[in-house]
Structures are given as C-alpha cells and as structure tokens.
C-alpha cells in the first residue's frame, strides 16, 4: 500500500507532524554544529548533558501544555501552579508556633501529607480551568491567565510576597537533592525522562491519546463521533496542573524554600518549546518528542547566545524572537508542502 515519497513536495508522503519534527531536528543539528564551532567550551560533554538536565522542569510542564495545545487550548497557569504548590508544600510542612516570625510557622503536617495536600490544590486549579474551558466553553487563554494570577496570588499571600524557608523538617529537602549515584544527574531529571516516555506511550498507543488529536483536528466532528470532548479536556487540564504541581514540589524541595516568584515565565517557556517542536497553534498535530526536541533547541539557542555575545539580560528578548521564528518556520514548512 505504501508509495514512494513524492518528488514535488518536500517530505512527500509524511504526515505534517513527522515532517515538522524532522524539520526541527534538522534545525537543531545545524544550530548545534554552529554552536560547537563558535561557542567556547560548547562541545564539552558536561555542557551537552546540561542542555537537557537544566531544563527538566520546563519539559515536564511542556508535556501538559503540548497535549492541550494539540486540542487547540492553552494552559498559561502552569508557572503559577508551580509557585503555589511549592509554597503550600512548605507551609503545610513547617512546624506549628515555632517562632514569632509568621513566615516560619506552618501547619506541621508530615511531609507526605503536605505534598499530597499541595498536589490536591494544584489539581484544584486544573479543575477551575476545566470547569470554565470544557464546561462553559470560555476561551482557554483568558481562563488560564486568570488561574495563573490566582495560583501565584495564593503563593504571595502565604509568603507575604517573599518566601518561606525556615523550620522545615530535614525530609523536605531529600527528593530535590537526590541524584543518581556517581553522577550529578538529579532524581528530578529521571522523573522527567520517565514522564516523557509515559507521555510518548500515551500519545502514540492509547485511545485517550488519539482523542486528543481528534478533538484538536475537528471538535465538532469529534463530538458527533461520540467523543466526550468536555470530559477529555477536563482530564488534560487536571493532568497538566498535576504535572505543574509535581514540578513545584520538586523545585521547593531542591531549594528547601517556597518562593512566591518561582517559575515566573515558565508557562511561556513551555509554550515556546512546544511551538519549536512543531506543535500547531491551530491544534490537531504535534508530539511530545517534538516538544523535547524544541526544549533542546531553545536550550542550545539561549546557551550559545549567552556564551557567545549576549548578556543574560537578553534572554527574554531572545525567547520572544525565537517564538516568532518558530511560528514562521511552521508556516514556511507547511506552505511548501502544499505544492
């Protein structure tokens, strides 16, 4: 049944999704080569590993954001959820009445209970997203902007706009400090890799993963074909919030602190790596693997730019420009295929 790739259009018989992924991998390889040639110390193995390990939190967020983007929806609340969950896990864990400083006093729950409760709150934010977006059909960009503010706001109220980092039990910092024996690779990175693999399996092999694409490709046809669109979107928003919550717990543990301003702008980074990885903003296609490639691509770009000529102050500007380039590249690549 298979035919040879056509000659007229680039990538002939490939699906748009695999075409874009391969296209972005190509861009990555070129950029990587350029960076190795010109950026001092870029080619060193340690730097290579850092390209991935330094971005574990963005990649975890990227999983939820990618799936929602494939359905044609945004989740901008993930950064706020990280901050809120981190702060709450600290607050729940801090001792009761141990100091005159209010920021040192918490609820004194055991670590496990504190984490579970904080994650429940994160899922609650996801529930608000789902209620408005899936049930009331409000545009996701508005609602998740709202929950982004709400979640970060809760973090700020509890930390009084600063942070909580005292009177924590030792157990609090264990997860964030763990690393694979003999290396500097943290357990968080391992969790990220496991989650990416799980997401890949979900995407490629499960019925639920397939639904994600169907909803993005045509929500009306999806409903008429018997797909419970609202239920599936709810599932994805809860999952995205849970992933952000897990990230928040891991980051809080690593820094042994709950900081209200943690993860500012991460929602945007997660969006950028999805776009760089070929996820369509119109919905319907994209992949977790592509998002992973996008994360490495962004990492290569920012590292080499800062290593080469720019001060770190430029990183926002750079990310903004990269977003536009990613969207232009998508358009360019897909237009060329139409033939």
């Amino acid at each position: 049944m298979e035919t040879k790739p056509g000659r007229k259009t680039i990538g002939g018989n490939w699906s748009n999704e695999s075409f874009l992924t391969v296209f972005m991998v190509g861009v990555l390889v070129v950029l990587f080569g350029v960076a190795c040639a010109f950026v001092p110390n870029f080619y060193q193995p340690k730097n290579m590993i850092n390209l991935i390990t330094n971005n574990w939190f963005i990649i975890i967020l990227g999983i939820g954001v990618t799936f929602l983007l494939i359905t044609g929806n945004f989740d901008l609340s993930v950064g706020g959820v990280i901050a809120m969950t981190g702060v709450l896990s600290v607050y729940f864990c801090q001792g009761v009445n141990v100091s005159k400083n209010v920021l040192a006093n918490g609820l004194g729950l055991p670590y496990g209970a504190a984490v579970a409760l904080a994650l429940a709150c994160a899922v609650g934010i996801g529930g608000i997203n789902a209620f408005f977006i899936a049930r009331l059909k409000v545009p996701s960009i508005i609602i998740t902007l709202g929950t982004m503010m709400l979640a970060r706001g809760i973090g700020q109220v509890i930390t009084r706009g600063a942070q909580r980092n005292t009177s924590l039990p030792d157990v609090f910092g264990v997860v964030g400090d763990l690393s694979i024996r003999g290396t500097s690779i943290k357990i968080s990175v391992v969790i990220m890799i496991i989650l990416v693999i799980a997401a890949y399996i979900f995407e490629k092999m499960t019925v639920s993963g397939r639904r994600t694409y169907l909803i993005g490709a045509n929500p009306v046809a999806a409903r008429l074909s018997g797909i419970k669109v609202a239920r599936h979107l709810t599932f994805l928003y809860l999952t995205s919030a849970l992933l952000a919550g897990v990230t928040g717990i891991l980051l809080a543990s690593e820094f042994k602190a709950g900081v209200a301003n943690r993860a500012t702008g991460y929602e945007f980074d997660a969006l950028v790596i999805s776009l760089l990885g070929g996820v369509s903003i119109a919905g319907g296609f994209g992949s977790v693997l592509g998002m992973f490639v996008g994360a490495v691509l962004l990492s290569v770009m920012t590292t080499s730019a800062t290593g080469l000529l720019l001060s770190p102050d430029w990183q926002f500007t750079l990310k903004g420009i990269v977003t536009f380039l990613a969207i232009l590249a998508q358009r360019f690549a897909l237009d060329r295929r139409k033939g």
Partner: protein
C-alpha cells in the same frame, strides 16, 4: 445612455467543478424593470449562476452582458459597484449599529478621520423612508425584525443605484404578514428602475410576484416564460423535475419487521409535533426543502439538540448525547462533510475507527495492526480511491471523503444509520456507489434514514418517504411505481 431592453443577457454560460458541470450552456435574458423568478430543485445550478453574477465564483466559459456591456465581477464588491446587489439569506447587516450607520456602512466619508454627514446619507435615509416609513434611521438594527432588516438592505441597494437586486429565498425566515409587506416593496422596485432576480422554493410566491420565470434543471436552462403564460403550479413543477424516471428503485420484498425507532410528538425550536416509526431493514426518506427541518430532526434523534416528546430506540428512551446514541447503535453521517464529519488533517487510518475505538483497542491501548487491517478492509469494501491508509483525508476528492465518513459510521456497527444529505456535492459515479452501499446495508438488516433535499435520491433508494415542510410532517408515502413526484413537489413547496 440608451438603455437596452434587457438589463442582463446570459450567453452559453458554463461552470465546471471537479467532476461536475454545475452550469451547462445556460442562455437567457432578463428584461429591464421586471421581477424575474428563478426556480429549480437543489443542485439545478441556480446558486452557482447567482454566485457567478455576484463575483463569488468565476465562470468556466460564456458571456454575460449587463446593460449591453460585457460584465465580469471578480468579487462581490466589484459586482455591487457595477450594479448587481444581492440580499442573501444570511443578512449582511450589523446588529449593533443603527439603521443609518448600516446604510452607509463601507462608504462612510470622513474628514480627518471623523464621520461627515453627506448628501449620500440623506439620499439613503429618504429612500429608506419611501420604502418603509416605520423604520427610524436612529433605531438599532438588532431591534428590527428579519423582514425589516431585509428592507434596510433593499434600501441600501436601491440608493446605491443598483440595476439588479438578487433576492435569495427572502421569505424563508419571515412571517406571513411581513411577507405581504415585503412583496409590496419588491413590486414597487420596478418603478424605481430596479430589476429583481427572485429565488424561491415556494412556488406560490412566483405566481404572486413574478413577471417572468426561468426554470433550471441539472445545470441546464429549461425555459424562460412570462408568468401569466403558466397555467398552474403543476405545469411549473413538471418543468422543474422533468421526465425523471425512477427505474432504479425496486420495492422491498416481504413485510417490514419490528419498529426499531419510534418517534412520538417530537417538537423543538424548529420541529412541530413529528411522529413516525422506522422498521428493521427499512430505508426511510425525509424529503423537504432547505429549512424544512430535516437536519434538525436528525440532530434531535442523535441527541445533539434539545427536544420535547418521546424518542424510543429499540424500545428504550435515548439519553441526549451523541456518544450515548452511538453506544445504543445509531450513527450519523452529518450534513457538512468537512466541518462535521471528517478530520481533514488526519489520515484515512486516523478517521475510520473513530466512532468505535473499542474494536481496535484493548484496555485503552490501540492495536495498530488491527487498526490498519480494519482501515484497509473499509478502503476495499467502499472502494475509496487511495494508494495508502496514510493519506490525509483533505487530499481526497469529495466523493472519497464522503466514503471515509461512511466508513467511520459503518465501523460503529450501528443498527440505524442516519444520512444527512449523503451525496451533496459529489460526482455522479460516487453517488451511485453510495446508493449501492445503502441498499446493501438495508439488505443486511440495517435501518437507514435518508435526509435529503434531492428528490431523485429519495425516490431512488427509499422504501417509505416522509415529506417535511416548515418543521411539520405533511405526508407519508410508500415508494413504488405509482408514486407521484409532482404531488411530492407540490406538498414540499407549501401546497395543500
């Protein structure tokens, strides 16, 4: 300028779509300052003709003379500038603006960006007043009835000195009393040096309003006559449907079995007290014009729209949601293939199993070899023209896309299939293939409901025919050699 007798002359006009000749060598004249009616069944080529006149699509060949000069419009705007305005069913007015603002919309004159009151506005308002004094220029358009909105559009067309105003089914959505007023205004347009091209499925209107009538059928021009020369409705209906021979239909053998679907007193925003049964293995047709309520009936049964009354499927009440309907054994081929039926950016393999993922999965995991096998099977049985299961649905022709939608519904293993305009916009070959599939399914014991505005389609394949008009069930007929197609058209066009 010497005015020609004919405002519009159409010569050998041809329009080809892939696989279909929608307008086939059409030639006729439209006399100046008359009301010229255009009638024909769905698919007769009326809309395509109008689209060419209004610049919404381009002709393949032929000539159009407007006021004796060669006419060619590349856009609706250009058509309007040259003197052809159209009042579509979907009105082009902005609800949030006042009548006056709507009249001048798109031709405001400004000084330094500020709106200026000009003679143009005054002309518009006075034309408006002469047509319908009860509409105030300061009124918000959202407060007007549909008929009055139409009058605002007519006023705009008259004031901008259009030679021709095309009206597409203007009475479809307005009440009886408003129709009378609208007709008075339309008749008055003749004195204002305007020619009206009037399209309607309601034949009585043609006798009341028209000076001339042009009948089209299957893309061809059948005749143009002064309306008084036509004796009655049935003569007009004969011209519309011609000597259609329905030889393909073979009456069903044996008696029908048990009722699988029972609908009792179904009413909603569109439907009025509809009751009927569908039996096992029966092909039931619902025939009516656009807006008669066919799609709404299908959507109510499928659980998409709300309703009052009772729908029993296999003796049980259906919960109102499509996924429950599919689970119970109903599948719908929706009216709009691309926007409601197909996942165009996915592959054929991505489309076919959608309505019954359980069949190709276990514990939520897709078995991709089963998926591929099933897709290949349906490509073969429905003869979908493709070289691969991995072809994107958007790259298939209309007929093959429709077959993919069919495959999707067949894969659901439904006992009742609802087909809403199953062959709209697909070529003749694919059409007859689809009829073949429908007949085969019925032989296998499946029940099928066909919702169509094409009479030959209904008469070719359906055992029982229900006629809908304006949301009500008007008649029931058994198909057979004694069926009277003229009577059917008489009923669905609003006759008693």
């Amino acid at each position: 300028m010497q005015l020609t007798e004919n405002v519009l002359e159409i010569r050998d006009l041809v329009k080809d779509f892939p696989g279909v000749r929608a307008v086939n060598n059409v030639s006729f004249d439209i006399k100046r300052n008359t009301i010229h009616c255009l009638v024909g069944e769905n698919g007769a080529g009326k809309s395509t003709l109008i689209k060419i006149l209004t610049g919404a699509t381009f002709r393949t060949a032929g000539k159009i003379l407007l006021n004796g000069e060669d006419f060619w419009a590349h856009s609706p705007k250009e058509a309007k500038q040259k003197g052809i305005s159209t009042i579509f069913q979907e009105l082009n007015v902005v609800d949030q603006l006042t009548v006056e603002e709507n009249l001048t919309l798109g031709m405001e004159e400004t000084t330094f960006g500020f709106l200026r009151r000009t003679d143009k506005i005054n002309t518009m308002v006075s034309v408006m007043n002469s047509l319908e004094p009860s509409i105030s220029p300061r009124q918000l358009v959202s407060t007007l009835s549909v008929a009055k909105k139409q009058i605002v559009e007519i006023a705009k067309a008259v004031a901008t000195e259009s030679d021709i105003i095309i009206m597409d089914e203007p009475t479809a959505a307005i009440s009886e009393s408003e129709i009378a007023r609208l007709f008075k205004i339309v008749k008055g347009l003749r004195e204002k040096n305007v020619t009206v091209i009037y399209i309607s499925h309601r034949l009585d209107e043609i006798f009341e309003l028209g000076d001339y009538v042009t009948v089209m059928r299957d893309g061809r021009h059948i005749d143009t006559k002064p309306v008084p020369e036509i004796k009655n409705r049935s003569e007009l209906i004969k011209m519309m449907i011609g000597k259609t021979v329905f030889e393909e239909y073979t009456p069903k053998e044996g008696e029908c079995k048990d009722a699988i679907l029972q609908v009792r007193n179904l009413s909603n925003h569109k439907l009025k007290d509809i009751s009927f049964d569908v039996h096992e293995g029966e092909i039931v047709g619902f025939y009516g014009l656009v807006g008669a309520g066919k799609t709404e009936l299908a959507r109510a049964i499928y659980g998409v729209d709300e309703y009052e009354g009772e729908i029993l499927f296999k003796g049980r009440k259906l919960p109102p949601s499509p996924d429950k309907a599919i689970e119970a054994g109903i599948a719908l081929v929706p009216e709009e293939r691309r926007s409601q039926g197909l996942f165009t950016i996915l592959t054929i393999r991505g489309n076919v199993p959608v309505m019954n993922m359980k069949k190709i999965s276990r514990n939520g995991f897709i078995n991709s070899s089963q998926e591929k096998k099933a897709t290949v099977e349906y490509i073969d049985t429905l003869r979908i023209a493709t070289n691969s299961t991995e072809k994107e649905a958007s790259k298939l022709s209309g007929g093959n896309q429709q077959k993919v939608v069919f495959a999707k519904c067949l894969f659901a293993d439904a006992d009742l299939l609802m087909l809403d305009e199953p062959t709209r916009g697909i070529d003749v070959g694919a059409k007859s293939e689809i009829y073949g599939i429908v007949r085969r399914l019925s032989k296998e014991g499946k029940s099928i409901m066909v919702f169509s505005s094409e009479l030959p389609e209904i008469m070719n394949i359906c055992d029982t025919i229900y006629l809908l008009y304006d949301g009500s069930m008007k008649a029931t007929m058994r198909n057979g050699c004694d069926i009277d197609s003229e009577k059917i058209v008489h009923i669905v066009t609003g006759g008693d």
